[in-house]
């Protein structure tokens, strides 16, 4: 084989990297460098502003794992986990229904996806009014003749359920679009064949759609679990973590910015990252990602 001249060889090597420079620089500057920073801080007692910091070894990690109350907030994630079950079920239902011929199909697709496009902070503010005493929710219930005199964010359970409900409303759209894409990628002949064989809608779902979207389903479950563990925007904006709605991330933010324990908060963030990685790993072991073969 003929050897290429050195210059050409170098160019061949260099070209892909030139294309990669922009995304790599962005990725490193805005993702890896801050994460590396955080890792370094997690071994220090830095307060977030002082020019001096000292290394404390694993002190912050010892602190986190010896203070059980820091992990109690994960109970709140249970509400969001339960909510994501509802969310996935709803998304699956809508995706299936809207993948068939339904009137105003595109309109409903838009309605379901729209909330996902709104900024989470804005959603927080909107729903504060929604849950207010005499607010939108109360007036709507009033139209149906149900006079509720309930403080929706008033007790811990009620507040967490309400917030989880907002979360479902917001994230349903993303799940729905993922499912819809997967459902529509299933070849149409399969349904026809199934119909000829006398399969009803439920059987079509059970034996064609469900296995066909399994990879997307398992991805969605992983995203939902890690999302439930790291809920932040909605409760932070709406209640600030008051009335038993504090999540692990809110707690971490408070450690860093209220009590100026940037070192400890960085360690908490690293711990959360490890927990999510571990949960994902376990999940992948339990439900391996098999190749799907419908035909």
């Amino acid at each position: 084989m003929e050897r290429l001249p050195n210059a050409v060889k170098a160019r061949k090597l260099l070209t892909p990297w030139l294309f990669l420079i922009a995304p790599l620089v962005l990725l490193i500057v805005f993702t890896y460098a801050p994460v590396a920073n955080m890792l370094v801080y997690s071994f220090t007692d830095w307060d977030g502003v002082s020019p001096e910091l000292s290394f404390t070894g694993a002190g912050n990690y010892v602190d986190i794992f010896t203070r059980s109350e820091l992990f109690q907030v994960f109970l709140v994630s249970g509400y969001y986990l339960a909510a994501s079950v509802v969310q996935i079920a709803l998304a699956l239902y809508f995706a299936t229904v809207l993948s068939f011929d339904v009137r105003f199909r595109n309109f409903f697709k838009g309605v379901i996806f729209f909330p996902y496009l709104i900024n989470g902070v804005a959603i927080g503010f909107v729903f504060l009014y929604f849950f207010q005493d005499g607010g939108t929710l109360d007036s709507v219930l009033g139209l149906f003749g149900y006079e509720s005199d309930r403080a929706w964010l008033g007790t811990s359970t009620s507040a967490n359920v309400s917030l989880a409900g907002v979360s479902v409303w917001r994230h349903l759209g993303l799940n729905f679009v993922l499912f819809l894409g997967a459902v529509q990628s299933i070849p149409g002949e399969l349904y026809e064949a199934a119909e000829l064989d006398g399969a009803g809608r439920w059987q079509q779902f059970r034996y064609i759609i469900a296995p066909g979207i399994r990879p997307v389903l398992s991805l969605t479950v992983i995203l939902s679990v890690s999302g439930s563990l790291s809920v932040f925007e909605i409760p932070y904006i709406m209640t600030g973590g008051a009335t038993g709605t504090e999540t692990f991330v809110i707690q971490t933010v408070k450690l860093a910015f209220q009590f100026n324990k940037t070192g400890l908060a960085s360690a908490a963030a690293v711990v959360l990252l490890l927990i999510i990685l571990a949960v994902t790993w376990v999940q992948r072991r339990l439900v391996p990602d098999d190749k799907v073969d419908l035909v």
Binding site: L13, L39, F131, G135, L153, Q258, K261
Partner: protein, 441 residues
């Protein structure tokens, strides 16, 4: 050619660079200990200075530029630029990791007092400045002063005079019990919400910590926080927290505290929908403006001290607002210093905000005429150990300057959370004193 190895090499290099960058936390302290001396001749001092301020409202409406114009009549060669920052604390805290945080700025609460010499240029000795100015010990480190607040504020209840009159209460309550009784009268005789917690905004609950000093009329109240249990029987914070608890437990607050709205609470108070809120004298002007906008009578907005008396008189603690300081890295220290001196003494900023003047010989503002008539004693708490109190607060994660523990207290009082007040306050006290001990004070 082994592609795989070269990839790894590159990624390793990039990661190493990222980690090296991670090691830096910002500027060294080379300028530490610099002084910002006042210029002798106003006509000679020159330069452009940037002033960082939390008052975005008066930057936007041009008030700040009018101050700068007036300043230029004395200091014609100094150009003053303003940078209003909405999320002042968080943003300036991060900027202070660099050297670029304006020439003049308000000292963020997060900066530890002992770090002041690393960030700010000294304005002079405490001995010399305290003859003329109030609040010098709030920013003094080793005898040198690093900041000066342009106004003084005193905490108190903003209340609607008309509503209180309608309820038949004309004299300020003198004990917490009498205060609760007054609120009960408001509840039964008027339509107003007797007390509005502003629970959702949170920070108005944190204001209750400013009660410290007014109950015992003690200038050493801050030192007491550093030395003992703030929730010991009869201690100022305990008295305050018990009053708040009682108000909530008696159902004298808004129906749903979790969805309160601070901005809307101002016109509601002005119009008589809300009777009382614990805030501070700084809020009077905002409530009066809200009254004007809502078409209510601004004179209905009243201000009263915490319901506790020592020897038959009320006590009001005067404390600084944000302290203005000169960036130690500034290239225009004389001009920056000139701005702070002028703004503190000659700008009229304190009068414009109906606030107390930072000058010791100044008269009380009109809004506190009621205080003068009632013979309220004004005290300043000594702040030499204020830095320590903040450190204990952070270490213990109690957060006396944060809303969280009082939000829990309110939840407990209204039955949304289990627990007894005594146990709860005892628990806070235990955490506090433990942290104080472990910090070795």
């Amino acid at each position: 050619m082994n592609h795989r190895r070269s990839h790894r090499g590159l990624i390793a290099t990039l990661l190493a660079a990222a980690i090296a960058a991670a090691g830096c936390t910002g500027g060294g302290a080379s300028s530490e200990g610099a002084d910002a001396e006042a210029p002798d001749d106003p006509s000679k001092v020159s330069g452009t200075i940037t002033v960082l301020t939390h008052r975005t409202d008066i930057v936007q409406d041009g008030t700040m530029d009018r101050y700068a114009e007036a300043f230029n009549r004395t200091y014609p060669k100094v150009k003053v630029e303003f940078e209003g920052i909405t999320d002042y604390e968080a943003e300036v805290k991060i900027r202070m990791n660099t050297e670029d945080y304006g020439d003049v700025l308000m000292i963020p609460a997060v900066i530890k007092k002992n770090d002041y010499p690393k960030f700010f240029a000294s304005l002079g000795t405490e001995e010399e400045r305290s003859e003329k100015y109030r609040f010098t010990d709030y920013t003094a480190v080793d005898g040198k002063v690093y900041g000066q607040s342009p106004i003084g504020v005193t905490p108190g209840f903003i209340y609607n005079k008309r509503v209180w009159r309608e309820a038949g209460v004309t004299d300020w309550p003198t004990t917490p019990d009498a205060f609760v009784t007054a609120l009960k009268a408001i509840k039964s005789k008027t339509d107003a919400v007797p007390y509005y917690t502003n629970f959702a905004a949170g920070w108005p609950l944190a204001q209750w910590t400013t009660v410290n000093g007014s109950v015992g009329c003690d200038t050493g109240a801050t030192t007491k926080l550093a030395e003992g249990d703030p929730w010991a029987e009869g201690a100022d914070l305990r008295v305050a927290d018990e009053l708040l608890y009682d108000i909530v437990r008696e159902g004298l607050i808004e129906k749903d505290p979790t969805t309160t709205n601070w901005e809307a609470s101002k016109p509601r108070t002005a119009k008589g929908g809300i009777a009382t809120q614990w805030l501070g004298s700084w809020a009077i002007i905002q409530f009066r403006q809200a009254a004007e906008q809502a078409g209510a009578d601004p004179d209905d907005i009243g201000f009263m001290p915490f319901p506790a008396q020592q020897d038959g008189t009320f006590c009001a603690v005067v404390a600084p607002d944000y302290n203005q300081a000169v960036n130690v890295h500034s290239d225009n220290k004389p001009a920056a210093r000139a701005w702070i001196d002028w703004f503190t003494e000659k700008s009229g900023y304190a009068d414009d905000n109906l606030a107390l003047s930072p000058l010791k010989d100044a008269a009380l503002p009109d809004v506190l005429k009621d205080y003068e008539a009632a013979g309220v004693t004004f005290i300043e708490t000594e702040d030499s150990r204020g830095g320590e109190v903040k450190e204990i607060d952070n270490a213990s994660e109690v957060g006396i300057y944060q809303p969280d523990y009082r939000q829990e207290l309110v939840d407990m009082a209204r039955g949304a959370k289990d627990g007894e007040l005594d146990d709860y306050l005892a628990g806070l006290g235990e955490r506090w004193t433990e942290a104080a001990t472990s910090l070795g004070s």
